[in-house]
């Protein structure tokens, strides 16, 4: 258990796990998404592999393909994001705001997904994040629902309409 939580207790490694939660990825893909070189990425992957959280599942495009080891790890990440304090409030017009400034990937995306599921059709949701990768992932995932995305005072304000 200590080994698992030690491996988890790192921003970059949480980000790697967050990316693997969505899909298996090649080392090249992870390097590109994280803007990291292979050597640094491997250091983290080895720690995650040793803890039994990720594994090599094969090859794709001549590169090694990594995935989470099991659905248990998937749910661990989901539960972890739920455990962190839910910073959701409503503004004066009753619009839901998810304030995840200061949170690293995958927390902003997981929280957005959770509130999105509770949203009625036609309702809007505002996400505040200062983590660029999370902003990108939210925009990609909800590309058909984006109303606006603007940068204000060092964070992004993304408005989505269901």
């Amino acid at each position: 258990m200590v080994k698992i939580f030690k491996a988890l207790a790192h921003g970059k490694r949480m980000t790697i796990l967050g990316l693997l939660k969505d899909s298996c990825r090649t080392v090249n893909e992870l390097c590109r998404l994280l803007n990291m070189n292979r050597a640094s990425l491997y250091k983290h992957l080895i720690k995650l592999e040793d803890a039994g959280l990720v594994r090599r599942i094969g090859f794709k495009d001549g590169d090694i393909l990594y995935d989470l080891t099991s659905a248990k790890v998937y749910r661990l990440l989901e539960n972890g994001a739920e455990l962190t304090e839910r910073k959701v409030f409503e503004n004066i017009r009753g619009q839901k705001i998810v304030d995840v400034r200061g949170e690293l990937c995958p927390v902003p995306l997981i929280k957005t997904e959770k509130i999105w599921r509770e949203l009625q059709n036609g309702e809007t949701l505002e996400v505040w994040t200062d983590y660029e990768l999370s902003k990108e992932r939210i925009l990609t995932k909800y590309k058909n629902f984006v109303v606006t995305c603007e940068k204000i005072n060092g964070f992004w304000r993304v408005v989505l309409r269901k």
Binding site: S23, I57, D67, E113
Partner: protein, 79 residues
Amino acid sequence: MADVKVDKTLDVRGEVCPVPDVETKRALKKMESGQVLEVLIDYPLSKERIPANVKKEGHEVLAIEEIGNSEWRILIRKK
């Protein structure tokens, strides 16, 4: 869910990520709105990801059934 008429079956048992997820997306793209796709998988992570991803695309997940030892059947209605 025995009374649901299945329009297309995608058997990706034996395949690992990303094949089941990609093939499901591809199959849905080719189908008509309202049709039902049955996906057979044995890769546990795809059982988590496929329902999450198709819901995000607006499709309806009708059922996720365990049909064997680490084998699942997912029924999806195209939006």
